[in-house]
Amino acid sequence: MTLKTEPFVVNIGPQHPSTHGVFRLRTTLDGEVIVDVEPIFGYLHRGIEKLAEERTYGGIIPLTDRLDYLASMSNNMGYCMAVEKLAGIEVPERAEYLRVILAELQRIASHLIGVGAFFNDLGAMMTPIVYMIREREKIVDLFEMLCGQRLTYNFMRFGGLSQDIPEEFLPALRKFLDQMPRFIDEYDQLLMDNEIVLARSKDVGVLPAETAINISASGPVLRGSGVKWDIRKADPYSVYDRFEFDIPTGTAGDAYDRYRVKVEEMRQSLRIIEQAVAQLPGGPFRSKVPFLVRPPVGEAYAHIESARGDLGFYLVSDNSIAPYRFHVRAPSLINLTALREMLIGWKVADAIIIFGSIDIVMGEVDR
């Protein structure tokens, strides 16, 4: 005999500990199984694209800090690259290397939170994330040394960086690079073979490669599904073509693979930083750029591989001091399209894990 059940609607969020910010899932459940899901967001829509239209090009840099607030340096870099493309600004070699170092440090910092929060969702309440925040604090210390802020850096400028690195930065970075691989090994020891982690995340929330491409997923979500696509290799920007690194990919496309990809990416980032520090040239840290940039009429698109995926900035200029249109290709928003695909058919308890494995930042989703 089969029991007849009635589907009912359950709200998860918008203020829920496991939703990584203010995000709401309107799930339709049949018993405990999710039969339909509608993501509702906009609880953090702050109108960044509209605000940018009334600010000068330089005044938008603080706004980009607050888009993906776990990876502010990457956002700074992507936006500055778009303006440099639009206005034809040259970037000195030293600045390019420093930007790469900072963007990769930022990727590690962001993945530490991404992985830690994923384990928080898995039920390993606080222990992994406290270890990972300890390592993140070291990176935050390095960034604070550069620009005096811990989260919203506002450090990159058109044609380079706002200031040169202080003399104590490279020794501190050296120490960090020596310590970090051992800590990543430690996380693997702590988590990788854990039975509970394996049982709860293996084969959970599988996203096949074709679907991942069709929904325009990028970053660890796409690579977790086994697609070897990384903007740093596919469309090298800055000086990434001078470094050797691998693109880690998953095989099954499940939550566990997405977590593994992030951990492996941290190791690859360390490799890139090692090479960049070794090759770091001298010279100016910024080219001469007027205070108010006035790009010619036209449009430009620049994209980078941020911690969450293919982060792009599309700018339209009308030869004034403010952009005519400022659009962000937000990887978090587009990766969320996969959520419905991954959730339907799973139980509510798995929904939290699948959602955590996508690793979104609401500031970027809603903008």
Binding site: G58, G59, I196
Partner: protein, 165 residues
Amino acid sequence: MKFDHFGIGIAKGMAVTLKNLFRRPVTVQYPEQRLNTSRRIRGNELVWSKEKCTGCATCAKACPQGVINIETSANPDNNKYEVKKYEVDTGYCIFCALCVEACPFNALYMGYDYERARYRRGELVQSRDMMTETPEKHVSGYFFPDRAASLPLQTLLVEKITEEE
């Protein structure tokens, strides 16, 4: 659920936890013990120099927020602007330091102080007198490397943790 690892994974995890028990603690006992913050810290206040300011309002134009409220009047005696009012609403400021970078006369600095919580919203507005540089009010070396050179080095977590092998 299959236990094909026979609990080895959990035992390995416990070993890591045990190892962390013998590491030096990283906690800062904040009110008694303070971190040396970065020499370029952007604290929650601005420091303004009355002598150097000419009242050109470049800072107010550079501010993406428009938090700098500056009123000047022409002084006919020495043919210069006199700054009547210089106000910053630190409850609205985002401490991006674009004003500090823009000032052509080096009259504006970021401050060191971050302990500026208040019970009243109105008290967050920094008036001209609260912003003047005094010996107690430390000035950060943000954007001024020569000032930063004399300031103490930052305390780093990376130096505090030592691995016990």
